[in-house]
Amino acid sequence: MTCRERAGQVRERYEEILSTGAGVVAIGTGGKRYAKAFIEDLQVPFEVLLDEDGSAAEIVGTNTVGIGMAVNPRAWIAGARAVKAAGPQGKTGRRPMQLGATLVIAPGDQLLYVEFEEYAGDHADLDELVAVLRG
């Protein structure tokens, strides 16, 4: 649900993001069928790739859900917000404990921005991201 919420947020600002000259790619851990449903259901306008074995996420070093998330009020608030925005949790795929991350990478493999989710729904600030993309 938080992933769907995030995709919707980026979709709503997709044209603004494109106007910076940047591209957008989302990477998820589910299978092909789930990815296609995700794209269709949410009318995702950007590219979606699959990281079925989590090897790309491993290189990035994404966090995983820990016991702390269960008692973190911000996680509960984010969960409630995501349900309201994107509906209940759907299929989670093979790696339900993996958390997300947001990167901005420039030509020459320059990492300009990275933020790791500390809990589900802990999304990077889109205004900040657009500013980084504008350079």
């Binding site: 992933c3 957008v24 990167l103």
Partner: protein
Amino acid sequence: MSIDVSRLADHVLIDPDGNEHRFGDRWSEQRALVLFLRHFG
């Protein structure tokens, strides 16, 4: 925390149709916003 972006760039991912893509091609000529989602649910 440092990320080995060159290694990430050489990583091959597939699209929903099963076609393979070199990840780094996404940012070889322009900046890319890269979203690692938890899953597609």
